[in-house]
């Protein structure tokens, strides 16, 4: 790295050498050499400026919003299309931004045969992500859980469902699906889902990005599936799951301060 920088800054070094020569024998120096020195120096400084700019860009991109830099991918390709829209979505599946029905990653529109938008099942998040209430991680369900419904539900000629049934139904081809992880904390952060869900279900005022079907139960709590959107955004409206929040430390600390939770370093870093 140092070697590379030496080569890049070479014009600066040469300019400095020329200045030394000019100082030593001022009268005998040819005019072209006197003119060359500032040109080289400006060139060297220019390279330095460009490098600084590039470095600043990379740093802000990394520390700011989650841009796909340095291997950070917001919305990775999954081995098969699992549409959260159909399963967890509520009511007609219409994209809030465009006003049109959702489009699957393969390009199909989520419409019925008569052209009306499909209607989401409105399944509870914790039907599949069961462990999230009790465990640090939310977990992905085994293929068997998918198969418990899709043994009979869904078209037999659907490409994605055929893949799913191969993975989960037939003994010869049974194997887990290698889902790509979307939300990943750094190795030095210990995040535990369960206490956050306990707290938010009992304190609905702290929930942000409330889902469309948000409702507070008579005893002042909410269902566990209504709190996820605080950090994960509107997953029910995602054909392919993406990370929408930066999930950086500042966000954690701001929320912990607002809710009077512990903010010591040892809370997450141990």
């Amino acid at each position: 790295m140092k070697r590379l920088l030496d080569i890049l800054y070479a014009p600066l070094y040469i300019a400095a050498e020329i200045v030394e020569i000019i100082k030593e024998k001022d009268k005998t120096t040819p005019t072209w050499l006197k003119l060359l020195a500032p040109v080289l120096a400006v060139g060297g400084l220019g390279i330095f400026a460009v490098l600084s700019f590039l470095q600043a860009f990379v740093m802000t991109a990394w520390f700011g919003n989650p841009l796909p830099v340095l291997g950070f991918d917001q919305s990775p390709e999954q081995p098969m299309h699992f549409p959260h829209t159909i399963h967890a979505g509520v009511g007609p599946l219409i994209d809030e931004k465009t006003g049109q029905p959702y489009v699957s990653p393969s390009g199909d529109m989520r419409v019925n045969d008569d052209g009306s938008p499909m209607v989401g099942l409105g399944m509870d998040c914790t039907y599949c992500h069961k462990q999230v209430i009790e465990r640090p991680w939310s977990g992905v369900p085994p293929v068997e859980l998918c198969i418990s419904c899709h043994k009979v539900i869904g078209d037999s000629d659907n490409e994605q469902l055929t893949y799913l049934r191969q993975k989960g139904l037939y003994e010869e081809t049974k194997s887990p699906i290698n889902w790509e992880r979307v939300h990943r904390m750094p190795d030095h952060v210990r995040f535990n889902h369960a206490p956050h869900i306990w707290y938010l279900t009992e304190n609905p005022d702290s929930i942000q990005n409330k889902p469309v079907d948000f409702e507070v139960l008579p005893d002042g709590t909410v269902n566990a599936s209504k709190v996820c959107s605080t950090c994960h955004g509107n997953v029910a409206g995602m054909e392919q799951v993406a990370q929408v929040q930066p999930l950086k430390m500042g966000q954690c600390v701001a929320c912990h301060r607002a809710n009077e939770a512990s903010v010591g370093c040892e809370t997450c870093h141990h």
Partner: protein, 256 residues
């Protein structure tokens, strides 16, 4: 110190040396709970082995009339810790609950803290930790795996403390004595190690630290340790000196 008054916890540990038989169960428990890399013989020869808790052994007398004494040494979690002010990046951190913990992602590996520590309980990762393939799924997911170039130390199993306080909060009850135990305390077969909340007047640790046998290591350094030791009761000495108990001084003499 102001912050400490706000918390209702101040953790501490008491070690009854009379009960310790040097079985090293605490060492093994700590090793597996906290993802400590496996030490080889060469590591110890270089004085670079990592043991958050170690059992020091002292011999007394001449063969065949020898007596072995064991002292488990772990981080003292000093209130006046020599390791904390020397850290240039504030990686050595004192929590509001009176624990001295290392923030691994802040640490840059200057090793000033280990040089400042009089108890030699801070350990530097000179190598990237490696486990055999069969161990990969045995690592504790609640504890960070420390990489090369950073300092690590006993955290009194902060992950277990947090789990205990969290469960109590979920059940809407107070943390009671014995709810939380670090791995070493849980593993000790003779209950020589006792962990508890010093602000709870009924806790076992409070009774033990007020015992007449209680002392802290290197008391003259005034580091205000939160780990107390209960001196060994030697029946031979007791017979000669009546009920006079012996404290720290005798242990230091025996140590060489």
């Amino acid at each position: 110190m102001v912050a400490e008054k706000q918390s209702k916890f101040k953790w501490g540990m008491a070690v009854d040396i009379d009960a310790c038989n040097g079985c090293q169960a605490c060492v093994i428990a700590c090793q597996s709970e906290n993802n400590i890399p496996i030490n080889t013989e060469d590591n110890f020869k270089d004085a670079r082995g990592i043991e958050w808790i170690r059992v020091e052994r002292y011999w007394e007398g001449e063969f065949p009339n020898v007596k072995a004494k064991f002292i488990p040494i772990l981080c003292m979690h000093c209130d006046n810790a020599p390791c904390e002010p020397v850290c240039p990046v504030y990686a050595s951190y004192h929590t509001v609950e009176g624990l001295n913990v290392q923030i691994y992602n802040r640490c840059v590996g200057t090793r000033y803290c280990a040089n400042g520590c009089p108890y030699l309980v801070r350990f530097f990762n000179y190598w990237e930790p490696e486990w055999p393939e069969s161990f990969q799924n045995h690592l504790n997911p609640d504890v960070t795996v420390r990489s090369r170039g950073i300092m690590e130390k006993c955290s009194m199993c902060i992950q277990r403390i947090r789990r205990g306080t969290r469960d109590a909060k979920k059940d809407k009850r107070e943390v009671v004595d014995g709810d939380i135990s670090p791995a070493c305390v849980q593993a000790c077969p003779t209950d020589a190690l006792v962990f508890g909340n010093q602000k709870d007047p009924e806790s076992r640790i409070n009774k033990m630290k007020n015992d007449k046998r209680a002392y802290t290591l290197l008391d003259h350094l005034k580091t205000n340790n939160n780990v107390w030791y209960l001196a060994k009761v030697d029946p031979d000495i007791e017979a000669h000196h009546g009920d006079k108990h012996h404290g720290e001084g005798n242990h230091k003499e025996d140590s060489h």
